[in-house]
């Protein structure tokens, strides 16, 4: 698995992404952004910002940083930021498994529809916890394993990587959470079509004094 493959897959995707998927996943994005419970002045990181569909749900008074691996998705996000005059948003091309941010920098971190399309979901969650302050909110929304074939195929459609590159479509929530005990889960809520997607809201309960080195 290399980053070039990921970029290529999303290059094909960038132009149609909003048209195809915004309606289905809109509510989940709105709900997730709200669960960050942002306060004015908060520094918020969105991991996998993609074309920027979640950006309108963040308050203007917060400083938003969005990262993504796909240059083409980010270009779309950048166009949205410019055309909407979102002066509080920056986007950067970066690998979510090896973020270049210091420890404890962000007040809250969000990842919408990302966890199942990365090679190592636990690594991404640990990186999210590393760059987030202790006590900060970490929210992610994702589809976790279910028996409904319609939904499973829809999820595969959303993530070209999972189809082409064999990424996880069978991610289970409980085993995942058990590997990040420092995330204190506050709420798990079903959302979108038939509630087959889950929003997880947690508080970062890491030991802020410990050296958090994440090695994946």
């Amino acid at each position: 698995m290399d980053t070039n493959s990921i970029e290529k897959a999303y290059k094909r995707y960038a132009n149609i992404y909003d048209l195809t998927f915004d309606r289905i996943f809109h509510h989940g994005r709105e709900l997730s952004a709200g669960l960050l419970e942002p306060m004015p002045g908060d520094r918020i990181l969105e991991v996998g910002v993609g074309t920027g569909l979640t950006l309108p749900f963040f308050p203007d008074e917060c400083q938003i940083t969005g990262i993504d691996l796909s240059e083409h998705m980010l270009t779309k996000a950048h166009q949205k930021v410019a055309s909407h005059g979102m002066k509080n948003v920056e986007v950067i091309q970066m690998d979510a498994m090896k973020m270049d941010f210091p420890d404890n920098h962000f007040d809250s971190v969000i990842a919408a529809y990302v966890i199942s399309v990365v090679p190592d979901p636990v690594c991404v969650l640990k990186e999210m916890l590393r760059v987030c302050k202790k006590g900060g909110r970490v929210v992610f929304i994702n589809h976790f394993q279910c028996d409904n074939r319609l939904i499973s195929s829809l999820e595969r459609l959303v993530s070209p990587l999972s189809r082409h590159l064999g990424f996880k479509t069978d991610l289970e929530l409980e085993p995942l959470l058990s590997q990040v005990p420092e995330l204190s889960v506050q709420k798990v809520e079903g959302v979108n079509l038939y509630n087959y997607w889950k929003v997880v809201q947690g508080i970062n309960n890491k030991d802020a004094t410990a050296k958090e080195g994440v090695n994946c």
């Binding site: 940083t65 950048h78 410019a82 950067i92 970066m94 690998d95």
Partner: protein, 56 residues
């Protein structure tokens, strides 16, 4: 969209985690230790080692 100064301050070289500096032309972020330049394409900093250019 100019890069936010605070963001520049917190960005680190993905390779050595050291400091990166904005080029005079504003077209990239350089790491002196690794002799690498991370390009800024259309206002988006590309903080990927694979995409970095070697400094002469």
């Amino acid at each position: 969209m100019a890069l936010d100064k605070e963001l520049l301050d917190i960005l680190a070289c993905p390779k050595c985690k050291g400091e990166v500096k904005l080029t005079e032309e504003g077209d990239g972020l350089t790491c002196e230790a690794c002799k690498l330049k991370y390009p800024i394409k259309d206002g988006i900093p590309v903080m990927l080692i694979d995409e970095a250019e070697e400094l002469g």
